[in-house]
């Protein structure tokens, strides 16, 4: 395959950026999108140019490191992570636009790499449980109803990649925050911090400069892990409950 790439290039956080055009040839349709970018970078290095910086780690679709808005879609046209997106999803001769996640709370570090530290700070605000130390507790000591376990697991699937923020027209982190809140709030292990968790995480989310939710649904469509849109309603319910009850 032969492709034309239009890639966002930006030397550093404060440097101005622009979309640069590159031609790549000899792309196999079995390559992942990141392998295609590797091919481009090898080419750029041989030509003595600066390779395109992009985030990646496991390349198995489970770590949440890769990002990229491809032709306006977070993680590209398929519902998966960019590392699991294959070039067979494109046609020979295509022009592909590659941009970083765009959000005030995700400042560009270089080229396609953004700083997702704001997500870490939301987690620090309440995305944990107060676990007792010592020997592992007896597995059957705390019973969890099957429905709750399923609900928690569905939300625990969130890998914190930030596609929800990138896809949202308001740059909102509601889907991410709701996944984390719902995951722990439904479980008995998470119940001691049930009220403070949702209040603190939502407050942190606002402080980081993410937008508000207008129930557009773009986040849930973009999410590679299928976190559903009703998660947001579930978190709103938890938040209103916590405001009513007051934190313990």
């Amino acid at each position: 395959m032969k492709l034309t790439l239009r890639v966002w290039r930006q030397r550093g956080a404060d440097a101005p950026g622009h979309m640069a055009s590159y031609e790549v040839d000899g792309i196999s349709e079995d390559m992942s999108f990141l392998e295609m970018l590797d091919t481009l970078n090898e080419d750029l290095i041989l030509r003595g140019e600066d390779p395109v910086a992009f985030d990646h780690d496991c390349r198995e679709g489970i770590c949440g490191a890769c990002s990229l808005v491809i032709n306006g879609d977070a993680h590209g046209p398929e519902r998966t992570t960019t590392c699991q997106l294959h070039m067979r999803s494109f046609d020979d001769g295509d022009t592909i636009d590659v941009e970083p996640w765009r959000a005030a709370a995700f400042p560009v570090v270089k080229d396609l790499v953004v700083d997702r530290g704001s997500f870490d700070r939301i987690i620090q605000a309440g995305g944990y449980i107060t676990a007792p130390t010592g020997a592992a507790p007896e597995a059957h000591a705390t019973a969890v109803p099957k429905a709750d376990a399923d609900f928690a697991f569905e939300h625990a699937e969130c890998i914190g990649c930030g596609a929800c923020v990138a896809a949202c027209p308001n740059g909102s982190a509601m889907l991410f925050t709701s996944a984390k809140v719902n995951h722990l709030n439904v479980l008995p292990q998470g119940s001691p911090e049930r009220e403070t968790r949702v209040l603190d995480m939502v407050a942190r989310m606002d402080e980081e400069g993410f937008g508000g939710c207008t129930l557009t649904g773009e986040c849930a469509t973009a999410c590679p892990k299928g976190i559903p849109l009703p998660s947001i309603a579930a978190m709103n319910k938890e938040w209103l409950r916590a405001v009513r009850k007051g934190p313990r």
């Binding site: 808005v69 636009d97 308001n170 939502v202 606002d206 937008g211 508000g212 207008t214 309603a233 007051g246």
Partner: protein
């Protein structure tokens, strides 16, 4: 190591709600539902125009005597007006502040543009502005009678006929009602999500209710100018 005990004081409930994006959205949801409830009653009242001038004008007069002898003449109406004004102000101020936050959250736009969200969702902000302007026009037209050509105080039937006998009266009204339908379609469903009533199981019911409300309100309100234009009401 013992965990540090929280010693900082939590802000008041009102402060927490107003300072949070989630809280401010719940203000929007509640004020929106209040206005929606009013609109359903308003629309049902409007339909009385199909039963003649006496019934319509009699209904308008009855509204002024509502609650008597406990409430003085027009007091009930003023209580409703104050409540509605509070709802409109709360709704608009929250919408303005939340929109500012949303726009600030994406300072650099994507180079590759594509349509995001449905038509009803995308037009919430400008549709809201159109509805705000319409409310001003509507009050000047049929409450204060400032811009009404007939302007016969105490005879709303004749005034409504006069409004819908002008091309601009009809155009403004029908455009505003289309904006209302779209606003309610996304707004009612969103309010349910914001107040935590949404779930995967209830989603179809909520969407059906939202579309139903939007359609019934649009059809009910627009039936009046259509009836005047076609001569069914004269």
């Amino acid at each position: 190591m013992a965990l540090a005990t929280r010693t900082d004081r939590r802000p008041s409930t009102t402060r927490t709600i107003w300072d949070s994006s989630v809280g401010k959205k719940s203000v929007m949801a509640v004020s929106g539902l209040v206005m929606l409830g009013y609109l359903v009653v308003h629309m049902l009242g409007n339909l009385k125009i199909f039963f003649g001038a006496d019934e319509f004008n009699g209904y308008a007069h009855w509204l002024r005597t509502l609650g008597s002898p406990f409430l003085h003449h027009e007091w009930a109406l003023w209580i409703v007006r104050v409540g509605l004004l509070a709802a409109v102000v709360a709704h608009a101020v929250s919408a303005y502040q939340l929109s500012r936050r949303d726009i600030r959250a994406r300072p650099v736009k994507y180079a590759h543009k594509r349509r995001r969200a449905s038509y009803a969702t995308r037009t919430m902000r400008w549709g809201g502005v159109i509805l705000g302007l319409f409310i001003v026009w509507h009050l000047l037209d049929l409450t204060t009678l400032t811009v009404n050509e007939r302007a016969w105080a105490g005879h709303p039937y004749e005034n409504v006929l006069s409004t819908f006998s002008t091309w601009y009266g009809n155009t403004i009204y029908i455009v505003a009602m289309a904006a209302l339908g779209l606003h309610v379609r996304h707004g009612f469903w969103s309010a349910a999500q914001t107040l935590g009533a949404g779930s995967a199981r209830r989603d179809r019911t909520l969407k059906f209710l939202a579309n139903g409300l939007a359609l019934v309100l649009f059809a009910g309100f627009v039936s009046v100018p259509v009836a005047v234009m076609t001569g069914v009401v004269n």
